[in-house]
Amino acid sequence: MLFRVAIAFACLFIIAGVAGQPAGDTALAVQQTIAPVTSLIATNHEYDNGTGIDLIWVPSIDDRLAPSRVTGYEVWRSVVGGSGSRIAELPAGANKFTDEQCSRESTYVYSVVAISVAGNAVSISTAPIQPAREWINLHRLNLLAIAFLVSAAVIYFIQSARSGKKLFVRKIAGLDAVDDAIGRATEMGRPILFIPGIQDMDDVQTIAAITILGRVSRVVADYDTKIKMPVSRSLVMTAARETIKASYMAAGRPDAYNDDMVSYVTDEQFGYVAAVDGIMVREKPATCFYLGAFFAESLILAETGNSVGAIQIAGTAMPAQIPFFVAACDFALIGEELFAASAYLSNEPKQLGSLKGQDVGKAVALVVIVVGTMAATIGSAWDVTFMNQLWSALKVVFQTN
C-alpha cells in the first residue's frame, strides 16, 4: 500500500515536473510578447564626410497593431570583432535612424531592440557596413550652378574693369563725406578714431572694414593726420597694421607709420567699450568711423562720439544695430552699402567688378521673385497647371536643403 502511494506521489511529482517545463515555456512566451523589428537595413549616409550610416526598418508588428505595447526602440551598434553598445533610444513608431558618430576606418554591425513592459525583442543584425566619404554633394548642384553664375558675372566685370571699361556705381550717401571728415580732423589737429567692430577676421564685415581702412589711412597719410585704432582682436590688429603700413608706403611716407596707431585692448566686449569711450573723451577725435560687426556697444560708442562733437560715419550689416547708427551718427552705411563702400572708395577693378557681379545676382533675384510670385498667384487663384508647375520648379531650383 505504502509502495503504491509512493509510486503515485512519484508519478505526480514527475508529471508536475514534466508539466512544469511547458509551463516555463509559456512564461517565456508571455515575456516574448512583442515581435522584433524586421527588414533592418544599414546604408551609407549619402554626401557626408564618411561619418554617417542610415538605418531603416519595419517596426514591430505589435507597434502597429497595439501601439501601447511597444514603448520604444533601442539602436545598438558594435564594431566588427568588438562588443556592442546602445547608441540611441527612440520612441514607439520610429522606423529610421542616422548614426552620425561613425569612423571611416571602422566596420559596424547594427541591431534594433523593440522595448515593451513584458520584455524586449532583438532584431537580426545588419550586414557589416563601413561608412564612406563623398567629395561632392549632388543634392546641392543648384547651389553650385548659382555660385558659378554669380562668380562668372564677377569675373566678367573684373576683366571688363581691367580692360579699361568704365563701370558705373551710383553715389553712396555718406562716402563722399569721408575725405571731408578726414580734412576736418587735419584742420582741427585732432585724431581720427577707426573702430572695425568687435568681431575677428573670420567675419566678412571686419574684412570689409579693413578694406575701407586702406582707403581711409591712405588719405590720412596724405593729409598727415593722426589715426587711432583700438581693436578687440589680435588678428584684426595684425591685419590693420599691415593695411595702414601699406597705405603709408603707397603715399610715399613709410617713415610716418607707427605700430602704435593700432592697439589691442581686450577681447571682452564691454571692457573694450569702456576703453574706447575713455579714449574718446580724453583724445576728443574729430572723426569717428564705426565700420564692421557691432552688437550692444554700437549705441554706447556712437553716443559718446556724439558727446565729444565728432563727425561720425558708421556702417554695419547687423540688422539690430543699424537703427542706433542711423539715429546717432551723421552718416550710416546700411547693410550691403558697407560692402559696396570699399569698391566705391577704392575704384579698384577687382572690387568694382565684384560689386557689379553682385548686382547681376540681385537682378536675377528680382526677375525670379517677380516671375515666381506671378506664377504662384495665377497658379493658386485660377488653378493653372502650368503656372503651378513653374512655381514648383523655381522652388526646387532655389531650395537650400
Binding site: 588678428l235 573723451v281 521673385i369
Partner: protein, 270 residues
C-alpha cells in the same frame, strides 16, 4: 591732483569701508567668509557706480574701473584661449610629451595634417615679431581672410540669396480666389485670408523695393528711384521697430543692475 580730488577719494574710501563692514555683518553666519563676501559685493557695487559715473563725465573712478576691467579681461581671454584652444584641443592631438607636461590625456589619433596647419599658421603669425622675416605673417593672414571669404560666399548665397528668393515667391491672392469674392468678404482676423494676402503683398513689395535700393549699378531716378524710396521707407520702419525692441532689452539690463544695487548691496528691496 587737486585737494578736492583727495577729499572725494578719501570720502569714497570711507564709504567703501563702511559698506564692507555692514555687508560683512549682514553675511555673518550665512557664508564661510563674511569678510570676503562683504568685500566682493561692495567692490561690485562700487565698480558699477564707477562705470555709471561716466554718464556725468570722465573721472578717476571711471578710469580705475576701466583699466581694471580691460586689464583683467585681456589677461583672462589670453589664458582662456591658451588653455582651452592650445592646451585643451591642440596639444593632446599632436604631442605625447607636451600632453604629459600639461597634465592632459593624450589622444592617440592617426597623424592628421589638419592639426598641424594651425600650428604652422600660428608660427607664421608670430614671425611678425621679426623685422627681417615679418612679411611671412601675411601668408597666414591671407589664408584666414581667403578661407573666410570663401566660406561666407556659400553661407550668404544660401541664406541671403536662395532662401530669400524661395521665401518671397508667395501667392498674392488667396488659393482658389481670384479676387471677386475676397473683396466682398473682408475680415481682419489675423488668420483670415485677407490678412494673409496683405502680408504676402508686404513681403513681395518690401523685398522687391529693398533689393532695388541696394542696386548700385543704376542711378536711382524715375520709377527705379521711386521703388528705391519705398525700399528705404520700409527699411526705416523696420529699423524703428528694431530700435524699440532693442531699447526694451537695454532697459531690462538697467533694471538688472539697479536691482543688484538696491537689493543685493543696499538691501532696500526684498
Amino acid at each position: 591732483m587737486k585737494r578736492s580730488t583727495y577729499i572725494v577719494m578719501a570720502v569714497m574710501a570711507l564709504l567703501f569701508a563702511v559698506s564692507w563692514y555692514f555687508k560683512a555683518a549682514t553675511y555673518h553666519g550665512n557664508v564661510m567668509s563674511p569678510l570676503v563676501a562683504g568685500f566682493m559685493i561692495t567692490l561690485a557695487a562700487f565698480l558699477t557706480l564707477a562705470i555709471i559715473s561716466f554718464v556725468y563725465q570722465d573721472n578717476p573712478f571711471y578710469k580705475f574701473a576701466e583699466h581694471l576691467f580691460v586689464g583683467i579681461s585681456a589677461a583672462f581671454w589670453m589664458c582662456q584661449s591658451f588653455w582651452s584652444t592650445i592646451v585643451g584641443n591642440l596639444i593632446p592631438r599632436i604631442s605625447t610629451g607636451l600632453s604629459k607636461y600639461f597634465g592632459q590625456p593624450y589622444r592617440d589619433e592617426p597623424w592628421n595634417f589638419v592639426y598641424w596647419l594651425p600650428v604652422i599658421l600660428g608660427i607664421l603669425l608670430l614671425l611678425r615679431l621679426s623685422s627681417k622675416i615679418g612679411w611671412v605673417s601675411r601668408w597666414a593672414l591671407a589664408f584666414i581672410v581667403g578661407t573666410t571669404a570663401g566660406l561666407s560666399f556659400i553661407r550668404y548665397l544660401r541664406s541671403d540669396f536662395m532662401e530669400q528668393i524661395s521665401s518671397t515667391m508667395v501667392p498674392l491672392l488667396a488659393a482658389g480666389n481670384s479676387g471677386e469674392s475676397l473683396l466682398s468678404n473682408i475680415t481682419l482676423s489675423a488668420t483670415g485670408p485677407f490678412v494673409a494676402m496683405l502680408t504676402n503683398w508686404v513681403i513681395f513689395l518690401g523685398v522687391i523695393c529693398g533689393i532695388v535700393y541696394f542696386f548700385f549699378s543704376k542711378e536711382h531716378t524715375g520709377l527705379f528711384g521711386r521703388a528705391s524710396r519705398v525700399g528705404i521707407w520700409i527699411l526705416m520702419i523696420t529699423f524703428g521697430a528694431a530700435f524699440g525692441y532693442t531699447v526694451m532689452g537695454r532697459i531690462t539690463l538697467l533694471v538688472g543692475r539697479l536691482t543688484f544695487l538696491y537689493k543685493d548691496w543696499l538691501g532696500l528691496i526684498s
